[in-house]
């Protein structure tokens, strides 16, 4: 560790009550280095980031920034000393313009009056440094895509000339092509000598974007090194503490008759005319670029979006105009890609979240027997190893991986026979992912049918029996998994025949 480091952490420890969140973690980041910080949820990444950004103070250990002791008194102090943070959730004021957002809190002004020209120059320069000099500065930030809003956030962070830029899960809501653009931005920053600490669940991305890595597990740094020397298997083994025997649990399946069929289903603007057939015991994967209509297809099948044309047949019966209510009754379940906004009721209990679709089953004449409802919920929190105090706890207090298990438990409790899963492993830790893969595998083995929308190709190739690719609102190619490779899936998705 004799490289001249820009940032050096020595034996940082932090405890919250009886929980030791960090145990003697050391870390060094060189100038212009992109350093991956990897670990499952609860491994201590967030605590470390909070200590770096000044939100928490370490109990023990020392930090050095460019050779001098670094002990920020708060986030603002950290920012002044050159440590800036990009949070997972974009936090722009949607009604303010791009320029106003970039300069928020750091406006150029004389006696309280904004200096328009100077503001434009500074905001423009920050965007230009990221390769986005062409952005219209006066348009409201809310009109931009999530990816573009993230660029605006990064530009905001650049105003203070940071030496260290911390990015917490920057790609969790980005599409593949936007992720590519983010990598370009990261490349530019690296070339300008900015050091980046990159936190992500997506190991593939870390391997592509980062120079070095540190893996945290249970509050300790269990491994560190050059990214190019580390294989996927080694990283996963470090994170989970067990070798990757088989992340994708393949179960024996017997495909039966067609249980779900969509014919020329349309829901403008994105879904043009998509047809699909799913058989009993089949896992059908849907690949495609974001905006190709995959989410729209499953939402329209489920009746969350109203179909403008086409028809849906469930178990051979023409299902007519669908509503979620009707679909649940037919035995179809849906898992939203948007867990927080649509999937779960965060301030309601675990038990209500699991059982909301069939509350009637827990009593008679509209009354609910609390004990029976709680027992049903407890069964699933036990079976899926959900970490929660009790089933009365609010779902919002659980970690992302545990929340997703609750969302799954709802489908299991409902005994849905056809499961529409939209990005079921987005934004959750590798451990939870592995378990969700296992659940999906065993569901299919038990004769349930699954439609799996995923942007993560290894997941589709690992789990599915059949994979269809959507392009511009149509399902253009459906083939058995064996006939696809990642490369071909991508080619079909972009339309390069």
């Amino acid at each position: 560790m004799n490289v001249p480091a820009r940032l050096r952490l020595e034996r940082i420890s932090k405890a919250f009550g009886a929980t030791q969140a960090l145990r003697s973690v050391s870390l060094a980041v060189a100038a212009g280095e992109v350093h991956a910080l990897i670990g499952e949820n609860g491994a201590g990444k967030s605590t470390l980031l909070k200590i770096l950004s000044g939100a928490h103070e370490a109990d023990a250990g020392a930090m050095e920034l460019e050779g001098r002791p670094y002990r920020p008194s708060g986030p603002l102090d950290a920012r002044r000393r050159g440590v800036a943070m990009i949070y997972q959730e974009v936090s722009l004021a949607p009604h303010l313009s791009v320029r106003e957002n970039i300069l928020l809190g750091l406006e150029s002004s004389t006696l309280g009056w904004i200096d328009e020209q100077e503001s434009r120059r500074r905001a423009g320069d920050a965007l230009a440094a990221l390769g986005y000099g062409h952005f219209p500065l006066e348009r409201p930030a809310g009109e931009f895509s999530i990816a573009e809003q993230q660029v605006i956030e990064i530009a905001r962070a650049l105003l203070t000339q940071p030496r260290i830029l911390i990015m917490d899960e920057p790609t969790s809501s980005l599409t593949q092509s936007d992720t590519e653009k983010l990598f370009e931005v990261i490349g530019r920053l690296r070339a300008q000598g900015v050091s980046i600490i990159y936190v992500s669940h997506f190991l593939e991305e870390c391997r592509r974007a980062c120079d070095r890595y540190t893996v945290l597990k249970d509050g300790e740094a269990v491994g560190a090194g050059e990214m190019r020397d580390a294989g996927m298997d080694r990283l996963i083994a470090l994170m989970t503490g067990r070798p990757v025997a088989d992340l994708y649990h393949r179960t024996p399946r017997r495909l039966g008759s067609v249980v779900l069929e969509a014919r020329a289903l349309a829901c403008p603007p994105r879904l043009k005319a998509a047809s699909l057939r799913v058989r009993e015991g089949e896992i059908l994967g849907l690949a495609g670029l974001v905006g190709a209509g995959r989410t729209d297809l499953v939402r329209t099948i489920f009746g969350l979006d109203a179909a403008a044309g086409g028809e849906v047949a469930v178990f051979g019966r023409l299902a007519g105009r669908g509503t979620p209510h009707r679909r649940w009754n037919e035995g179809v379940g849906f898992l939203s890609e948007n867990r927080k906004e649509e999937g779960l009721m965060l301030n309601q209990s675990v038990q209500d979240n699991i059982t909301l679709t069939k509350l009637e089953a827990f009593g008679r004449l509209g009354w609910i027997r609390d004990s029976r409802q709680a027992a049903a919920a407890r069964r699933w929190t036990g079976e899926l190893a959900v970490k929660c105090r009790d089933v009365g706890q609010a779902v919002g207090e659980l970690s992302g991986g545990n929340q997703q298990r609750i969302a799954f438990a709802r489908l299991l409790e409902h005994r849905a026979r056809i499961l529409l899963l939209d990005e079921p492993t987005r934004g959750i830790d590798v451990g939870s992912k592995a378990e969700i893969y296992e659940i999906i595998g065993s569901l299919a083995a038990a004769g349930k049918s699954v439609v799996l929308v995923s942007s993560y190709l290894p997941e589709l190739l690992g789990l599915c029996d059949t994979i269809g690719v959507m392009r511009r609102g149509e399902l253009v190619a459906v083939r058995p998994r064996g006939e696809w490779s990642e490369h071909e899936l991508l080619r079909a998705a972009v339309g390069d025949e």
Binding site: S336, E342, M345, D352, L356, R410
Partner: protein
């Protein structure tokens, strides 16, 4: 320390508030005897009837994530209609039923507009606030509606100082509070109301018929407001189209003091009723202390702010 405090506050918050205001007025020698007398308790309970029945309906609405600003106008309208019917010779019960029905109809219109026009309940009911008040004045020909004696006048009376019995209004409010509490906590309908208020998109995804549910919630709450109108009439003994201006703010305040969040998804009937009681006790006590009206208004304003602040504290800073 702080978590323990939070837990205690969470379980007993509104109760402590009620106890505090009672103690506040029980301390001074000159008011204690009368303030704590049975007759005065009876008066306080009777004065709480109108707001607390309104608060029952409002609890449903606020838990579902909506708001209703047309309570005062609905109370005036239904009171006027009941008075007109009594004037035309209807019996008290029939006139009360009609008033409840009209309240339900107003709620049905509110709910339908919210659900089918997909407009914010704040806007729709702000409109209804004007419409309802205007209708009341129109029907009453812009004056009070008086009628000969009717049994309805006895439903809220506290006149007989020696009498032990509480007026009918108090019993009705109590019974409805129990029923509404059970409805909200023990039935599928209740869970659906919480789900809707907590996350409408998630409720829809889970097959909760959200549009229909909104209509039912507003219509049911409207029935409660209509009943409040009946008791308002019973107290005034005439139909007054200008009565209960701003009553919705008292009703909303009761629900908020009782621990509900305007964001929806939280709230209890017990809390709302205690919230209504806290305000009545404050009013009654202030009067006995001889404090001027404006002083009462300031105190109640402060109570609302302190109650919500404490509530945020116990939830750990999240509103």
């Amino acid at each position: 320390m702080i978590p323990t405090l939070r837990r205690i506050l969470g379980k007993t918050g509104p109760f402590i508030g009620l106890a505090l205001v009672i103690v506040l007025f029980a301390i001074p020698q000159e008011t204690r005897v009368h303030f704590l007398s049975y007759h005065n308790v009876k008066i306080i309970l009777t004065q709480t009837v109108i707001v607390s029945i309104g608060a029952l309906g409002m609890t449903l609405i606020i838990v579902s994530g909506a708001i209703d600003l047309s309570v005062g106008s609905t109370v005036a309208l239904t009171g006027v209609i009941a008075a007109l019917l009594i004037q035309r010779g209807w019996g008290a019960a029939a006139a009360a039923a009609a008033a409840i029905g009209v309240g339900g109809l107003v709620g049905l219109l509110n709910g339908s507009a919210v659900a089918w026009l997909r407009m914010p309940s704040f806007i729709i009911t702000l409109g209804m606030l004007g419409i309802g008040r205007g209708m009341a004045k129109w029907l009453a020909d812009n004056q009070t509606v008086s009628y000969d004696a009717s049994p309805i006048n006895g439903w809220m009376t506290t006149a007989d100082p020696a009498g032990r019995a509480l007026p009918a209004g108090v019993w009705v409010a109590l019974a409805l509070a129990v029923a509404t509490s059970l409805l909200l906590r023990k039935t599928v309908f209740g869970r659906h109301v919480f789900a809707l208020g907590s996350n409408e998109a998630a409720a829809r995804l889970c097959g909760v018929p959200t549009a229909r549910l909104k209509v039912v919630i507003f219509a049911l709450a409207g029935c409660f407001f209509g009943l409040s109108g009946v008791f308002q009439l019973s107290r005034l003994r005439l139909g007054d189209p200008t009565v209960a201006v701003g009553l919705e703010l008292d009703v909303i305040a009761a629900v908020i003091i009782g621990g509900a969040s305007l964001n929806g998804g939280t709230g209890t009937v017990l809390g709302s009723v205690i919230g209504a009681l806290i305000m009545s006790v404050l009013r009654n006590g202030s009067q006995q202390m001889g404090w001027p009206n404006y002083f009462q208004e300031i105190i109640i304003g402060l109570v609302i702010i302190v109650a919500v602040f404490l509530d945020r504290f116990r939830r750990g800073g999240k509103a």
